[in-house]
C-alpha cells in the first residue's frame, strides 16, 4: 500500500505534474492527481516523464536485466545444487544424532500446531486481492519447488508436508473454537519452550553441544529472548529509578554490554563467565556462550522496555499515586502492563536481529546454519561451491527474518501502538 505511486511522489527528480497557475486561477490546493488511465500512460508517468527519468530507467533497467540474468543463469545453469541436497540434514540440525532427530520434528510440529491454533482463533482473514493471491501463489510455489528439489527422501518430504497440514488443521480448529482458546493458548505458548527443552533433553536426550543447524539458530535466539527478558526488565526499571546509585550502576551495565560486539562476548565467554560463577563449577562452553548472549541481549531488552516506560502517560502515574498505590504496585499494576504492550513490536524486531546474530556462533565452533554451510562447501566432494551453500543459508535466514518482520508490522498496526 505504501507503494502507491501517487502517495509517494514527494521528491522525484523531475517536475511534479506541472499545473499551470495563471493569474486568475484560484490557489491550487492539493493538485488533483490524474490517475493513470492506460498502461502506456502509467509507463510514461512512472518511467519516462523527463529526460533524466528516462536515463534513470534505462540504466536501472540494464542493471536489473544484468542481475536477473546472472541470477537465473547461476540458479538454473551453472550452480551445482547437489551439495544442498546432500547436506540438508546438516543445515537443519547440524551434528544432532540422526536417530534422535524425531525430537526436533516433535518441536516443529508443536510450534506449527500452536501457530495454526493462534492464527485461527484470532479470526484472521486474509485480504483477498489480486496482489495477495499472486504473492501467496508465487511464494508457496517457490517454497514447494525448493523443498521438492532439495529434500530427497519420502519420509522427510511427508513429514514436511505434515507440518503444513497440522498448521492448517490447527487454523480450522482454532477458528471453530475462537475465543475459548485464548487463555489455554497463552499458557501453551509460555510452556512451549520449557517443554521443547524437555523433549530435546529428556530420556537420554541430546546435549547442547550436539545442537546445530537452523534448529540451533532458532533455539539460541529463543533462549536469548526468554532469559534476557526478566534481566532487561530489571535493568530498565533500575535505569529509570529515582535512586542515583541504582541508576548509575544500571546505566554502566547496559552501556558496557551493548558497547562490546556480541562476537567478543561469545569468544571471551569461556574466560569471563567463570567470574560470575563459584569456583570449581564446571559449565560447558556452549552454556557460557548462552549466558554471555543473554547478558548482551538483556541490555537491548532494557533499552526497549525503557522506551515503553517512557511512552506511558505521566497522568497514569499520577492517577495511580492519587489512589495511594505503593511504588511497587504502581509499577506492577499501572506502568508495566501499558509499557509492555507497546514493547511487543520492538521485541519482535530484537528477536529477529538476535536470530540473525546467532550466525556468530560459527565463530566459536558451533555448527549452526552458517558454519554448516561453510563446512559443506569445504568438504572434499563439493569443494568450492561456496556461492551455492552460502546463498542457500542466506535464503533460509531471509525467509524467516522477512516473514517475521512482516508479521511484526501487521501486529504493530493491530495493536495501534503510537495511535492510542
Amino acid at each position: 500500500m505504501a507503494d502507491d505511486p501517487r502517495r509517494r511522489r514527494p521528491f522525484g527528480f523531475e517536475e511534479d505534474l506541472g499545473v499551470a497557475v495563471t493569474e486568475d486561477a484560484p490557489a491550487v490546493e492539493a493538485a488533483p492527481l490524474s490517475t493513470p488511465a492506460t498502461p502506456t500512460e502509467w509507463i510514461r508517468q512512472n518511467l519516462f516523464s523527463s529526460w533524466f527519468n528516462t536515463i534513470l530507467t534505462l540504466v536501472a533497467g540494464a542493471f536489473l536485466l544484468f542481475v536477473l540474468y546472472s541470477l537465473i543463469n547461476f540458479t538454473f545453469v551453472s550452480a551445482d545444487w547437489a551439495v544442498v541436497q546432500r547436506f540438508m540434514k546438516a543445515y537443519m540440525a547440524g551434528p544432532f544424532p540422526i536417530e534422535e532427530v524425531w525430537r526436533i520434528w516433535v518441536c516443529f510440529y508443536a510450534v506449527a500446531l500452536l501457530a495454526g491454533l493462534s492464527l485461527g482463533s484470532s479470526r484472521w482473514r486474509p485480504r483477498v486481492t489480486t496482489r495477495t493471491v499472486l504473492v501467496t501463489a508465487v511464494s508457496s510455489g517457490a517454497a514447494s519447488a525448493i523443498v521438492l528439489y532439495t529434500v530427497r527422501t519420502a519420509l522427510v518430504l511427508s513429514l514436511t508436508a505434515g507440518i503444513v497440514i497440522v498448521a492448517a488443521a490447527g487454523t480450522v480448529v482454532g477458528r471453530a473454537l475462537g475465543n475459548r482458546l485464548r487463555k489455554p493458548l497463552l499458557a501453551a505458548w509460555f510452556l512451549l519452550f520449557p517443554i521443547m527443552l524437555v523433549v530435546v533433553r529428556a530420556f537420554d536426550g541430546v546435549a547442547p553441544r550436539f545442537w546445530g543447524g537452523l534448529f540451533f539458530n532458532l533455539i539460541a535466539a529463543t533462549v536469548g529472548i526468554v532469559a534476557s527478558f526478566p534481566i532487561g526488565l530489571l535493568l530498565a526499571l533500575g535505569r529509570k529509578s529515582s535512586l542515583p546509585a541504582v541508576r548509575i550502576v544500571c546505566v554502566v551495565i547496559i552501556e558496557v554490554f551493548r558497547g562490546v560486539p556480541l562476537i567478543a562476548w561469545l569468544i571471551f565467554s569461556r574466560f569471563v563467565v567463570d567470574l560470575f560463577l563459584p569456583p570449581q563449577m564446571e559449565v560447558p562452553n556452549i552454556i557460557k556462550a548462552f549466558i554471555a548472549m543473554t547478558m548482551f541481549s538483556s541490555a537491548y531488552v532494557a533499552e526497549i522496555v525503557r522506551g515503553g516506560l517512557q511512552g506511558v502517560d505521566p497522568g497514569q502515574l499520577e492517577a495511580g499515586r492519587a489512589l495511594g498505590l505503593s511504588p511497587l504496585r504502581l509499577t506492577a499494576l499501572i506502568v508495566m502492563p501499558q509499557a509492555l504492550r507497546s514493547t511487543i513490536p520492538p521485541m519482535i524486531g530484537h528477536f529477529i536481529s538476535l536470530f540473525k546474530d546467532t550466525s556468530l556462533f560459527s565463530a566459536i565452533a558451533v555448527t549452526e546454519l552458517l558454519s554448516a554451510a561453510r563446512r559443506s562447501s569445504a568438504s572434499l566432494e563439493f569443494f568450492g561451491l561456496d556461492a551455492e551453500t552460502l546463498l542457500f543459508a542466506a535464503l533460509i535466514f531471509w525467509v524467516i527474518a522477512f516473514s517475521m518482520s512482516r508479521w511484526s508490522q501487521r501486529l504493530e498496526h493491530r495493536l495501534g501502538v503510537g495511535e492510542r
Binding site: 517536475e15 567478543a264 529477529i352 550466525s359
Partner: protein, 394 residues
C-alpha cells in the same frame, strides 16, 4: 505550640521516612554490588593463581612473537604485545572509517532512490533494502569474501586496468602517491591555496548577492586551488610522484594494496549498513513538512536544488541521531572480520592469548577499545548534531 508538637509527633518513624529509606536502599544496593564485584575479583584471581599466573598488564611489554598479515603501523614479530594490539585497533578503525564514509554515500543514494518518482528505481531500492536487512551481516561478509572475492581470477591472471591497477583474489592494488623531497613545502602551498580559495569563494558569493550575477563559486575556488597546486608542483619539481604497483609472482609490491580480507569486510559492512541508513534517510525525508518542498517549488527551484538546498538539510536533523547508531553498529560489526581472518581486535586478541595467556587483561583491553571508540564516535556526532540542530531552543 501544641500544633507544632503534634506536627512533630506526626513525622513518620525512621523506618517509614522516605528520605531515610532512599539512603538506606542505596547503601544496601551499593553494598551488594561491591560484594558481588569483590566476589568476582576473588574468583578471577583464584582461578588465575590456580594456573600459576597473576593478574597483571606487564606482559604487554614482552616480545609478541607473532606476525600480522597487514597493518597500517609498522609492525614485526619482534615488537611488544601492546604494539600488536595497537595495530589491531588501527586496522579495525580503518575499516570503520572507510566503511562509514562509503555506507553514508550508498545509504543516501538508496534513501533517495526509495522515494524516486521513477518506479523502477524505487522498486530496485526497496528490494535491495528488504533483502539486505533480513540476512545476517556475517553471512553477507562470508559470502562476499569466499564466494565473490576469492572466486575472482588468481594473481597470475590479474585483471589489469591500464597496467596501473590490478584486481585478483590476492586483493587489489592501485597507484599510491608518494612524497618527494619538497613534499611538505608543496602541502604548505596547498594549505595556502585553500585559504585563497576560501577568500575567492566569499568574494564571489558577495558579488552574487549584491548583483545577482551567477557566482560560479565552485569553478572559481576550485580553479584557484588546482592552479596553485599545479604551479607548486611545476616550480618545486617532482614534489610527489605516483608509485605504480608491480605484479609479482605471488603478491603485489608497491602502490596501495587492499587485501581480500579488507575488501570483504569493507564490502560486506558497507552494503549491510547502507540498507539501514537508506531507511533512515527515507524516513527523515518523509518527516520534512510537505510545505517546505512546495515552498521551494514556488520559489522556482529545480528538483535537484529542492532536494539539495531545502529538503536534505532539514532531513539531516532528524537523521543524525539514528545514523549515529548505525555508525556505532558498523564500528562494532568490524569484529565480524574475525571470521574471515582480517587482523582486527578479536583476531589479534585471540592470537595474543594463544601466545601469552592473560585472557582477562586482554578482554579488558578489547572492552576498553570498543567502548572508547564508540564514545569518540558519539561525541563527534553529538558535536555535529549540535551544529546542524535548529538554534533558539526549539
Amino acid at each position: 505550640m501544641s500544633s507544632i508538637a503534634t506536627q512533630h509527633a506526626a513525622r513518620p518513624p525512621l523506618w517509614r521516612d522516605v528520605r531515610v529509606l532512599r539512603i538506606v536502599g542505596q547503601v544496601l544496593f551499593i553494598t551488594i554490588i561491591v560484594f558481588v564485584a569483590r566476589e568476582m575479583y576473588l574468583n578471577a584471581t583464584f582461578a588465575i593463581e590456580a594456573r600459576g599466573r597473576s593478574l597483571t598488564y606487564d606482559y604487554l611489554q614482552n616480545r609478541s612473537g607473532f606476525g600480522i598479515k597487514e597493518s597500517i603501523l609498522n609492525y614485526s614479530a619482534n615488537q611488544p604485545f601492546y604494539r600488536a594490539f595497537l595495530v589491531a585497533a588501527t586496522n579495525a578503525m580503518m575499516v570503520a572509517f572507510v566503511g562509514i564514509i562509503l555506507a553514508t554515500i550508498l545509504g543516501l543514494i538508496v534513501g533517495i532512490a526509495r522515494l524516486s518518482t521513477n518506479w523502477l528505481v524505487r522498486k530496485i531500492a526497496q528490494v535491495y533494502v528488504e533483502i539486505i536487512r533480513n540476512v545476517p551481516a556475517l553471512v553477507q561478509i562470508v559470502f562476499w569474501y569466499t564466494a565473490v572475492i576469492l572466486a575472482i581470477p588468481r594473481i597470475q591472471n590479474s585483471v589489469s586496468i591500464f597496467d596501473i591497477a590490478f584486481v585478483s583474489n590476492r586483493g587489489a592494488a592501485i597507484p599510491a602517491v608518494r612524497g618527494g623531497v619538497d613534499f611538505s613545502v608543496w602541502w604548505a602551498l596547498v594549505a595556502g591555496g585553500l585559504v585563497a580559495a576560501w577568500f575567492v569563494w566569499r568574494r564571489r558569493t558577495r558579488i552574487h548577492e549584491a548583483t545577482g550575477e551567477p557566482s560560479y563559486r565552485w569553478l572559481w575556488s576550485g580553479g584557484v586551488l588546482v592552479g596553485i597546486g599545479t604551479i607548486g608542483y611545476i616550480v618545486l619539481g617532482d614534489a610527489f610522484f605516483f608509485e605504480v604497483p608491480d605484479l609479482g609472482e605471488r603478491r603485489y609490491t608497491g602502490g596501495i594494496q587492499m587485501s581480500p580480507e579488507f575488501a570483504g569486510i569493507l564490502l560486506g559492512l558497507t552494503v549491510y549498513t547502507a540498507a539501514f541508513i537508506g531507511e533512515i534517510v527515507r524516513g527523515s525525508i518523509l518527516a520534512v513538512s510537505k510545505g517546505q518542498k512546495e515552498a521551494a517549488q514556488a520559489l522556482g527551484l529545480k528538483p535537484g536544488q529542492q532536494l539539495r538546498l531545502v529538503v536534505l538539510p532539514q532531513a539531516l536533523r532528524t537523521a543524525v541521531p539514528s545514523v549515529t547508531n548505525q555508525y556505532l553498529n558498523l564500528w562494532k560489526n568490524t569484529s565480524l572480520a574475525f571470521v574471515i581472518g582480517f587482523p582486527e581486535l578479536i583476531n589479534v586478541s585471540t592470537t595474543m592469548i594463544n601466545q601469552g595467556g592473560h585472557e582477562l587483561e586482554n578482554f579488558s583491553l578489547v572492552v576498553g577499545t570498543y567502548l572508547g571508540v564508540s564514545l569518540a564516535i558519539s561525541v563527534v556526532m553529538n558535536v555535529f548534531n549540535r551544529l546542524v540542530a535548529l538554534r533558539g531552543g526549539r
